[in-house]
């Protein structure tokens, strides 16, 4: 069978140059990718270049863009008092969100991966549920849950005897953490499913061997599960960092960027669509993009070292 396939392939290759059927196939191929490729050309490739150009101009959409060279970038790093602060806020989100979601989603996945009798599919559906809901809607709900006077969370905290619970969204010390809490709740179920897929690829013989050697559950977790999941963790981490960097809707609804919660992404949004400083906003967007790109490339490079 394999031999026949090989022969067929070789014959096809010999045929390719002359065969009109092959030309037909290539033509169909281009025709099939055309819609997606046109969309890519306009809304991604052209738009990327255009955005780079805009970042070197002063433009408020109504008038024509005025070329200002590196001015936007220079201002961003030297004059803008918000840039540093918002960059720090964004890093804060990344530093807290990424590890917590990683650990919690892995924990959920390990819980559900057991072949316990029970309602596993119900549990999985429940834990996944938050990630399907729009951030705008659910942020409105959480804003109220976190209300310092009448919110459910402080209600519970008072009920268990904490008389001075945090003010959450009204307190600069807690505001960022409140948003992080809400995002952890929202995102963990999504990454749990990715971890579940990863867990299913680990051969059970590994655990059996470990058990024979007398490894306990904790050792199995740290010496089999976690290392075997490292490709999944790697993928999740890249997606998570991207998501944490782009945190924006929750900030917009829950605090409107007050009390030290504004992220760089929210700043881009306000610059572009509240102040109509398109050039400056584009410059900031590019800086943000480059930061994420460098991070991602770095992760890939480091990963190569880990594997080899």
């Amino acid at each position: 069978m394999h031999q026949i396939n090989q022969d067929l392939k070789a014959a096809a290759a010999r045929h390719r140059r002359k065969n009109p059927l092959k030309r037909q196939e290539a033509l169909t191929g281009w025709l099939f990718v055309a819609p997606a490729l046109i969309g890519f050309a306009i809304f991604t490739a052209f738009s990327m270049c255009y955005s780079l150009y805009i970042s070197f101009t002063d433009w408020n959409i109504l008038s024509d863009p005025k070329f200002v060279g590196w001015q936007n970038y220079v201002n961003l790093f030297t004059r803008d008092i918000f840039f540093g602060e918002y960059l720090w806020n964004t890093i804060y989100y990344v530093l807290f969100l990424v590890p917590s979601v990683l650990v919690i989603s892995l924990f959920f996945a390990i819980l559900l991966n057991k072949t316990f009798k029970g309602f596993t599919s119900f549990y999985r559906a429940s834990l996944f549920l938050p990630s399907i809901i729009s951030t705008v809607a659910i942020a409105l709900v959480w804003k109220w849950l976190l209300n310092s006077q009448s919110g459910t969370i402080n209600g519970i905290l008072r009920w268990i005897g904490i008389s001075q619970p945090p003010q959450w969204l009204l307190d600069a010390k807690w505001a960022k953490l409140s948003i992080i809490l809400m995002r952890i709740w929202q995102m963990s179920g999504y990454y749990m499913v990715m971890y579940l897929t990863g867990l299913q690829t680990i051969p059970s013989s590994l655990y059996e061997a470990a058990r024979v050697d007398g490894a306990n559950k904790l050792q199995q977790l740290f010496f089999i599960t976690v290392p075997m999941l490292s490709p999944t963790t790697f993928a999740i981490m890249i997606l998570l960092v991207l998501e944490a960097f782009n945190i924006f809707e929750a900030v917009m609804i829950m605090t409107e960027g007050s009390l030290g919660t504004s992220s760089l992404m929210y700043y881009v949004y306000r610059l572009a669509f509240a102040s109509y400083r398109m050039g400056y906003a584009s410059a900031l967007a590019w800086i943000l993009f480059l930061i994420i790109l460098v991070f991602t490339i770095l992760r890939f490079v480091l990963k190569k070292d880990e594997v080899m």
């Binding site: 169909t28 997606a36 729009s134 409105l140 949004y269």
Partner: protein, 288 residues
């Protein structure tokens, strides 16, 4: 007999106890996770006073009132906005599914020069954050005079078949045995015929996953609709809710608005749960 019986029984008892503990723990966990959604649905039927005055732990609305929804209707043309949202969230996923699956099929099966480059380009959009292209996309729509028209939404999403969908479809098509197509081609079927009559009908799980995930995305989106739709007759519900949150101070009305945004997705989630939690989608990422 009895010697063997005792440890076996205790093993079983231990198993039952640990199962019960596990299920109990999971129940608590699930209740904590679902509670905000349940709470929102219940509270949207509470009077505003109850939200403020009573103990926040009280879930049941007393008195039960639909005045929040009535108030929403008086502010907005709710039916129309929900309808806009629903029809766009069905049309756009279908179109974008078609774009993605066509491209994915060519990338999986058809042999043409530059195929790998095209694949790389289309997949690279996964790494490009939306906000970099947002302003130019808006400018393009201004140039095309498509502002204030649903076409601005449809065109952008339908043409940019998303990278994730293309990836998922490609994986799926690669798993379909080639014999099917070969037989059809020998019988003189065109590539178009193969794709529409053999491949698509055999890809229902992949189609369902892509359409449902993109339904959720379209229904939940507000940023792009907010930029291109000024006329509130054209708004989707999520956009209306976002604008409402900027001026409405009555919290229970906002909660009712949030519930209207949550319910359609929730219904689809309950009906098509397996496609949401489809491991294939995520397996695609796992392989990076």
């Amino acid at each position: 007999m009895s010697n063997q019986g005792t440890p076996r029984l205790s093993m079983r008892t231990r198993r039952i106890v640990s199962d019960t503990c596990f299920n109990f723990f999971m129940m608590i966990l699930c209740i904590i996770v679902i509670y905000p959604v349940v709470w929102a649905i219940f509270s949207s039927f509470k009077a505003n006073q109850q939200l403020f005055s009573e103990s926040p732990l009280n879930l049941i609305p007393r008195p039960f009132t639909t005045e929040n929804y009535a108030k929403l209707m008086s502010i907005y043309d709710v039916q129309r906005m929900v309808f806009n949202g629903l029809y766009l969230s069905i049309l756009i996923p279908l179109l974008s599914m078609l774009t993605s699956s066509l491209a994915a099929y060519a990338l999986a099966r058809l042999d043409f020069k530059g195929r790998n480059l095209v694949f790389l380009l289309l997949i690279s959009t996964m790494m490009i954050p939306g906000y970099v292209t947002l302003i130019p996309n808006f400018a393009i729509m201004v140039k095309l005079r498509l502002l204030n028209s649903h076409l601005a939404l449809i065109l952008r999403s339908a043409l940019s078949g998303s990278a994730t969908s293309i990836f998922l479809f490609r994986q799926y098509f690669l798993s379909i045995p080639r014999d099917l197509e070969n037989a059809a081609i020998i019988d003189g079927c065109s590539w178009r015929g193969v794709f529409f009559r053999i491949i698509l009908p055999n890809s229902k799980p992949a189609i369902a996953t892509v359409v449902i995930l993109s339904f959720r995305e379209t229904w939940n989106a507000f940023l792009w609709p907010q930029l291109v739709l000024q006329d509130d007759k054209l708004w989707t519900w999520t956009l209306a809710l976002k604008v409402l949150s900027e001026f409405e101070t009555n919290q229970s009305v906002l909660l009712a608005g949030a519930v209207i945004s949550i319910v359609p997705v929730l219904i689809i989630y309950i009906l098509c749960q397996k496609y949401f939690v489809n491991s294939q989608v995520n397996a695609g990422f796992g392989g990076i």
